[in-house]
């Protein structure tokens, strides 16, 4: 029954996120005098902007009932490709285009294995998680490769409008586009449908495989964009770049109320979750809480986000009887098989 009340639950979860966010903001404001200044907020945002960008596409991936563990390795790979090509004096814009193409292509390959070959996305993208970082290592070995053109590092580090960087502007544009696609477009509708019940989708003529490939290809592309922005911000690339980011990104998305089982979630929830996590980490840093404890607190929040809907539906189940349908015969195995 949890599914059925999903929308109402989401709204409730989103309000809870707003509440958390206000509490955290209030604390931060009392502790730091210039906390709410544009400068400070932009800086705060800038520190995790690449994760925030990938969280947008991860929202699509998880709502469609899949997972992509390869995003952070893809970030490292695209950054390494740009660095390597830059070293060999390729025109920098062209190097970026190549890196983006690699992201799109490998993402589509992930999608192909998931959608057409039928391998679980956890397994497929785990292979990518290992393989892409390995490829990055092949390109730049254990070196720290920098020496980017000045315009590139300025793009990553300097504000365009006041303290607001290109990455931040891009993030907000992408967030708006992602929100419109997810909630108002036919494609977004398909993402939910595939994630809720892929069998019903197939029976309804929804191009399920194509939808999945598009999602994974976009995930590869967006990860590549994030990787390149990360390289621009840091000014140098290592093969260990962005290590472990995928778990932070998935955490943000789940904390935003997206169901790990697919079919449920909203862009607003994920955006709130991004702001909450950023400010929470900031507040904890101010309060002198160390990194490990910070991660623990966010983990606790994540557990709550998974636990609360379960508790709610269990409590509801105790009071409300679910309608029972008569079933005179076991489902025919032949029907189930042919649907799979």
């Amino acid at each position: 029954m949890g599914r059925i009340d999903a929308r109402r639950y989401l709204r409730r979860w989103e309000s809870l996120l707003v509440l958390f966010l206000l509490v955290v903001l209030a604390y931060n404001i009392t502790q730091v005098s210039n906390f709410l200044t544009a400068q400070n907020q932009a800086n705060l945002f800038q520190l995790s902007i690449e994760k925030a960008i990938v969280a947008l596409i991860m929202t699509f991936v998880i709502i469609s009932g899949e997972i992509d563990l390869s995003v952070a390795s893809m970030m490292a790979l695209s950054a390494a490709v740009v660095a390597r090509l830059n070293e060999s004096r390729m025109e920098h814009v062209l190097a970026i285009v190549v890196a983006l193409a690699v992201g799109l292509g490998l993402g589509a390959l992930n999608g192909f294995f998931v959608a057409n070959v039928g391998i679980n996305s956890l397994a497929v993208t785990l292979a990518g998680y290992i393989g892409y970082r390995g490829l990055a290592q092949v390109f730049i070995e254990d070196n720290s490769v920098g020496g980017f053109p000045g315009w590139f590092t300025r793009l990553g580090q300097k504000g365009i409008i006041g303290p607001i960087t290109f990455s931040i502007i891009l993030f907000f544009i992408m967030a708006a586009v992602a929100g419109v696609i997810l909630h108002y477009s036919g494609f977004g509708r398909r993402v939910y449908t595939v994630g809720s019940n892929a069998r019903v989708a197939i029976f309804s003529g929804v191009p399920v495989a194509r939808t999945r490939i598009i999602i994974f290809a976009t995930s590869g592309l967006v990860s590549a964009i994030a990787g390149i922005l990360y390289a621009a911000r840091l000014g140098a690339v290592r093969s260990s770049t962005a290590q472990g980011f995928e778990l932070d990104i998935i955490t943000i998305v789940l904390l935003g109320g997206v169901s790990i089982f697919g079919g449920v979630g909203s862009m607003v929830g994920v955006l709130l979750s991004i702001f909450l996590v950023l400010n929470l980490r900031n507040g904890m840093t101010i309060a002198g809480i160390t990194g490990n404890t910070q991660t623990g607190v966010i983990g606790l929040l994540l557990i709550l986000s998974v636990l609360i809907p379960n508790l709610v539906s269990r409590a509801q189940g105790r009071f409300r009887r679910t309608p029972v349908e008569p079933q005179f015969q076991a489902p025919r195995p032949e029907t189930v098989q042919s649907a799979g």
Binding site: M1, R3, I4, A6, R7, V180, Y184, S185, G186, F187, R189, R190, Y192, T193, S196, N197, R199, V200, A201, I202, F203, S204, G205, V206, P207, G263, V264, P323, V324, E325, P326, Q327, F328, Q329, A330, P331, R332, P333, E334, T335, V336, S338, A339
Partner: protein, 541 residues
Amino acid sequence: MADLAPDIAPARMNGSDESSVVPVLEMRGISKRFGATQALSDVSLQLSRGEVHALLGENGAGKSTLIKIMTGIESPDTGEILLDGQEIHLASSQDAQRYGIAAMYQEPMIFPDLSVAENIFIGHRNRGKFVDRRRMESEARDVLSRLGVEIEVDEPARGLTLAEQQTVEIAKAISLDTRVLIMDEPTASLSAHEVRRLFQIIENLRSEGVAVLFISHRMDEVFEISDKVTILRDGQWISTRPRTELTPRMAIRDMVGRQVVEIFHRERKPPGDVRLAVEGLSKTGAFEDISFEIRAGEVLGFAGLVGARRTDVGLALFGIAPADRGTVTLDGQPANVSSPRQALERGIAYSTEDRRQLGLIMGQSISNNIVLPSLQRFLDKFGLVKRDEERTVAETYRMLLKIRAASVDVPTGALSGGNQQKVVISKWLETRPKVLILDEPTRGIDVGAKVEVHQLIDELAGQGMAILLISSDLPEVLAMSDRILIMREGHQMAILDHTEATQEKVLSLAMGQASELDDVDARAALRAVDGLIDAGSSAGD
């Protein structure tokens, strides 16, 4: 297990004086209701030791529900269950197992990676912490030899044939001291030869004093193996007779013998041109040589029992599980499709019987579900959903089909079965199909909604749609169809015009009991049908 046989044998001997009077298992006045459907009302059944008792009835007669109650999966609303004359309560299938009641189904429940011996003894408890593999295997051999079969007990069960897997399940039941064994359609997937061997095992069970409840749609088998036959119809007990006092004709009469109440009166109009033509459609392992035509404005009923493979034909036409051979034409154009998408493009829609798994996205709103297959038409030039249009269309269906919901934003999971069915039909109507395949459109929905669905079918046919109605509800098929195609185990038995179709005729064909055999003595009929079966099954192989 060597110690088991002497253990139970005396126990059974002691009871033998009484057991001629007191049945092993007695179901008394069992009633069970699911929502709007009275699945069983006041059904009684007695099983004696060493008796093979057949349970006959159409789909939906209540057989499955009765079995579920006997095995503790469902509990009855009223009525009692007696074991050796003592009332017992079955709260779970473990309870039933403790009392010595076990069931086996058409698809055996086998752990493919465990050995045969492990599968046989999987349900045993309190046998110590460690496995004595050698002892287990020798006991497994004992049990199997009591059944008169030889299977390697140390091999993994994966390599067994279906028939052997069934044997392992029977052995499992025997090793658990089972006194009542329920066999639900055990022969449905067996070859004629395997059926013979199964019957030999049943004979052995009989001589060991096990009471067997045997459920089969094959009339000849029922007449061969059973001592007594109980017939259910519409959830009610109709008759229990010794096999020797029953003829196939009587059995069929009892199964369909309801008063013919006109459930819906359909004015049949002369149909238009041929819409869908199917020629020699075959799919290995599913169905063989299906040929029919449906004209515009015509309803073709698909009748048959469970396992007749009617749904497979529907799924093939819709491209979910395409056929291997044969041609399909729609309005003269080839329409052999290999995906639902292609089917929908050509104007074929398929409304599934499984609303929950395949029909609706339960967490999404009525309107989302209705526009799902035709979403493309509801997108503007930027690919965004035209929500106003979507709502208007959904509202139209809500009014037209009388979908009872506060609004079209209500998630379909919150609706009753009947209203869910209407949403499913709406969703397919919105694809504006030329051919609509309706698979069990009224299963599990209340009487009021059923009549509304029937009215709708009539209206749609009136508008020139060709409708293929797959239904296990015989009165429904008879009332709604212009013609009726009867299937049995993947084969097309006949196409009857509605003017010549009767419940008895349709059921006789569906059960493989040729109607000319009606008046012949049961034994002679049996021999005749046996010949037919052998011929039929070898053709199917």
